[in-house]
């Protein structure tokens, strides 16, 4: 009772009558409006700014830093990019280079970067909520805002929102984008990049329309069960099919197979019909001299892959292919698969016999030893067909009687902004988008047993790179002002005419780039016609040798006829010309012996060119650039002169530096180089 009386008295004092009530409420309002600003006074950012002032007071340049400091809320506002960033309110020292030894956040200066702070603000690269002024709201997911700060390991993805080209500073993004194209992601998923182009797959999964000619049910079964057991380097993913499923798929694939154009051709001779005993050795050395290893790899006894990765690994090819198919394939690969990157080599009968016998000896007897399949029947074939359609095999392979599915897998064009409420996380995983994407690539089926996405054998580093590339596919990237998007699409180029057909047949662009199209293994041929002399080119086509001492991969020797060589060379000499390569560019009469003597001095003394280039194989050892012995035969004087003046203008990205030579030096060096002629050995031509 003693407590209740005073309470009742207080109550009556404040709200007893209407005027008292009014007075109390007014008082309350006055007090609230008086203390409201103190919330601001005790705010987080003010605390950080005070801390910052304490920090700089001990620095040698304290006065200057204090002058540059402005208290209050800072804001970077870029309306066209929808950027309202107040990050600099707490991160006050982002532009104070003199604080670069400070490691305490939020006072670290920003590390060197290609853009200025005011150009793009902060959230374009780092994500987060730019307008927030507390750490929690700015950095982490909240119910109203799902964009937490992007972890540093994926930061390169932000560059990919505008930059489609491979940048020097974004190795991880570049790798991720290469993997997206290489591992066939884009066969199933549509991925529209910010410049409006679709990610185009660069792998070419083989056509299965005539597979019964190539291999048998047992091999298809083993391969379908586990591609990596056949070839460690296989990019075909593991679908974790059961034995029954794999057997059904094998039955169906054999059943749907039709005859290829090749099957009508007569069979090249087999090695049994050749005379001589050393065929195994001969076949192996032929494999070597034809430079098959430039594209195909074979595991050596130590278990290391030796060879290129452009074409399938051949370690156990003897278990896979039908001998008749192999011989027909070697003669005319395009008759079996018109889209293959394998050139038509014009092998003679003996070469085909030797090569096929060597390749058929590449086998592992354990691979198919335990594969015993029941005979194929109509039910099994029907089940196989259903599996092949359900799992979208035709998204990659051409298969008779099933047409390619449309939008088979989810579109990933905006995966980097996928709302978290749409994401089903696994129990125990960190609930962030990067963790979800990485987890999904690592083990897709963990997210649901009914999911079809297979398991790719990728390393942690590859998964991190792929995640980075996918995180670049944001909503922001789509709505970026188009003038900010940097891309250099290569228009498709195919050589025309008879020579063009020959170049298609030889698959020149599998290795050589021409006008921005083609492979990277061999030199760019865009300006080859301006660069080389006709006599040298004719000779090289007949008998290609390498110009680079340290290079193992070389141009293979195609058995071209004289007429083919002449036609092809003349086409290249006329079609692959750089502009401004007329006789006006250099007065050839100035390339005299005095100039050559001066040029030799420049070559060996002033510029030490022999560090990278070999002129005299007895004396020089440089491995970096092509050997220059015989360069006088190979290159035209005008090309040499122009190349020396500015190599990057003729071949963007060449490692040859621009030495800023003056006209006289470039001329003298050209004069010296033109004197370097090879003494022809008899019988070479």
């Amino acid at each position: 009772m003693s407590l209740r009386n005073p309470l009742r008295r207080i109550w009556r004092f404040f709200v007893g009558t209407a005027p008292r009530r009014f007075a109390s409420v007014s008082m309350l309002l006055a007090i609230v409006s008086a203390i409201a600003p103190t919330e601001d006074f005790f705010s987080q950012w003010r605390h950080y700014q005070k801390d910052y002032l304490r920090l700089i007071s001990t620095r040698p340049d304290a006065a200057r830093l204090r002058r540059r400091f402005e208290s209050g809320i800072h804001q970077i506002w870029i309306p066209e990019q929808r950027v309202v960033d107040r990050c600099t309110t707490c991160h006050v020292a982002l532009q104070e280079a003199s604080l670069n030894d400070v490691r305490r956040e939020p006072f670290r200066p920003h590390p060197a970067m290609p853009h200025s702070l005011t150009e793009f603000g902060c959230v374009v690269c780092h994500h987060g909520q730019g307008a927030a002024t507390t750490v929690q709201e700015a950095h982490y997911s909240t119910k109203a805002w799902e964009q937490p700060i992007l972890p540093a390991r994926y930061l390169e993805s932000s560059c990919g929102q505008c930059h489609m080209d491979a940048l020097e500073g974004t190795p991880q993004l570049n790798l991720g984008r290469r993997l997206l194209a290489r591992y066939g992601c884009a066969h199933c998923h549509a991925i529209t990049q910010p410049d409006g182009t679709l990610v185009a797959p660069v792998d070419e999964p083989p056509s299965l329309e005539h597979i019964a000619e190539k291999t048998g049910r047992e091999w298809i079964f083993a391969w379908t069960k586990n591609p990596q057991a056949y070839a460690a380097s296989a990019t075909m993913p593991n679908y974790r099919f059961s034995d029954q499923e794999a057997a059904d798929i094998a039955s169906f694939l054999i059943a749907q197979s039709t005859a290829s154009d090749n099957s009508a051709e007569d069979l090249p001779k087999s090695v049994a019909s050749l005379s001589g005993n050393d065929t195994a050795q001969e076949g192996a050395s032929l494999y070597g001299t034809l430079f098959c290893a430039s594209c195909h790899a074979i595991q050596n006894t130590a278990g290391n892959l030796v060879g290129g990765e452009m074409a399938p690994e051949l370690t156990r090819v003897g278990n896979k292919v039908n001998p008749d198919w192999l011989r027909r394939w070697l003669r005319a690969p395009q008759g079996y698969d018109p889209k293959t990157r394998m050139p038509r080599y014009r092998f003679d009968e003996k070469q085909i016999a030797l090569l096929s016998s060597f390749l058929l000896s590449k086998k592992d007897d354990d691979l198919l030893a335990n594969v015993h399949l029941p005979p194929s029947d109509a039910e099994s074939i029907a089940r196989g067909k259903k599996l092949v359609s359900d799992y979208g095999c035709v998204a990659c392979h051409r298969i008779n009687s099933i047409s390619p599915p449309e939008s088979f897998a989810p579109d990933l064009s905006r995966i980097g902004s996928k709302p978290l409420f749409q994401v089903g996380f696994l129990r125990g995983m960190p609930e962030t988008l990067p963790d979800y994407i990485a987890g999904k690539i690592h083990d897709p089926r963990a997210f649901g047993p009914a999911l079809k996405m297979p398991n790719f054998s990728l390393t942690d580093g590859q998964i991190e790179a792929l995640t980075t590339a996918l995180l670049a596919q944001t909503d922001r990237a789509v709505t970026m002002p188009p003038e900010l998007v940097r891309s250099s699409p290569h228009p498709k180029y195919h050589p025309g005419g008879d020579a063009g057909r020959l170049m298609e047949d030889l698959r020149c662009q599998s290795c050589h780039t021409i006008n921005g199209n083609g492979g990277e293994m061999a030199p760019d041929l865009t300006f080859e016609g301006s660069a080389v002399n006709r006599a040298w080119l004719l000779d090289f086509m007949k008998n290609p040798n390498t110009l680079r001492p340290a290079l193992i991969r070389r141009m293979p020797k195609f058995n071209l006829s004289d007429a083919e060589i002449k036609g092809l060379s003349d086409y290249m000499l006329s079609a692959y010309q750089a502009s401004g390569f007329d006789s006006q560019a250099l007065d050839l009469s100035t390339l005299n012996s005095d100039a050559a003597t001066r040029g030799k001095q420049l070559f060996y003394r002033k510029y030490a060119c022999q560090s990278c280039h070999i002129v005299d194989f007895k004396k020089d050892k440089g491995y970096v650039g092509p050997a220059l012995a015989g360069v006088g035969d190979r290159l035209t004087p005008v090309w040499m002169y122009r190349w020396l003046k500015n190599p990057n203008a003729l071949l963007p990205g060449t490692p040859m530096p621009n030495f800023s030579l003056n006209d006289d030096e470039a001329r003298d060096l050209t004069a010296f180089l033109t004197t370097l002629k090879e003494h022809k050995k008899g019988g070479l031509k």
């Binding site: 009772m1 407590l3 209740r4 030894d101 490691r103 670290r108 590390p111 060197a112 970067m113 290609p114 972890p151 540093a152 390991r153 994926y154 930061l155 390169e156 020097e168 500073g169 974004t170 190795p171 991880q172 942690d460 580093g461 991190e464 340290a550 003394r605 002033k606 510029y607 030490a608 560090s611 990278c612 050892k621 440089g622 491995y623 970096v624 500015n646 990057n648 490692p655 530096p657 621009n658 030495f659 800023s660």
Partner: protein, 240 residues
């Protein structure tokens, strides 16, 4: 009236439930095996992008007093800015413990510290340095792989055959050679890259890259050289 007190009491009881329980880091592992020394087996001086997981784990081995590998010794790891999995473990049958390392988000050197209790009290400590590259250092790495390492790195890779042995003395320094390169100022390094060896009275085997690289690229190469220097580079103002 009683209802009032009960309400107050209930409120007071419920109140602490809103508080977060502070988790105490208690070592879940214990061991009675004590090593005499600890050696680094592999995984030091790895270079990766900021925030990335290192390609290889860091592996240390605990040895007994007779120098043989010791199984079952407790090793704990910590390092400022690093994410380490696990933070402690018992050594395996070959005396080894391996830890996966994720670098912090700030470019620069990180130190991973491995500790194990010593027999007879005290602890043995091994420090391991790892290197995180920021944007500028990554650019430097790309540029130097393209233009520099062929001659400056004695190691050959499948993609690149080292040219170092083909050169005439004086031979180029490796970019990790901190003993030499830490003594050169940024300005001198920029000068030798831009204007070639002769600019500093050195061999013309280093070409001038002034017309090939931009100043930003050259500075990036210097930043990369500074990042991977061994022993680590100390900026001049930090030395004083």
């Amino acid at each position: 009236m009683r209802r009032f007190y009960v309400a107050c009491l209930t409120f007071l009881l419920i109140l602490p439930m809103g508080c977060t329980k502070r988790s105490h880091v208690v070592s879940s592992l214990s061991s009675k095996v004590y090593g005499a020394q600890m050696v680094l087996v592999s995984g030091d001086k790895q270079v990766a992008g900021v925030g990335s997981k290192l390609a290889d784990p860091v592996v240390v081995r605990v040895n007994g007093a007779d120098g043989s590998a010791l199984a079952g010794a407790l090793v704990s790891f910590h390092g400022e800015g690093l994410v380490l999995i696990p933070t402690e473990a018992l050594s395996d049958s070959s005396g080894q413990v391996s830890v996966s390392v994720q670098l912090g988000g700030i470019p620069g050197s990180y130190e991973l510290i491995a500790e194990t209790p010593k027999s007879g009290g005290g602890i043995t400590v091994t420090g391991v340095r790892e290197i995180a590259l920021g944007y500028q250092e990554k650019v430097g790495k790309e540029v130097s792989y393209k233009y520099c390492t062929t001659c400056h790195d004695p190691e050959s890779t499948p993609e690149r055959v080292s040219n170092l042995d083909n050169l005439a003395p004086p031979l180029p320094h490796q970019f990790t050679d901190g003993n030499t390169l830490n003594e050169m100022s940024d300005a001198d390094l920029i000068k030798i890259i831009a204007d070639g060896g002769p600019a500093l009275g050195k061999s013309p085997q280093t070409p001038a890259y002034r017309s090939t690289l931009t100043l930003a690229q050259i500075k990036a190469v210097v930043a990369y050289i500074r990042a991977i220097a061994d022993p680590p580079y100390q900026p001049p103002d930090a030395k004083n």
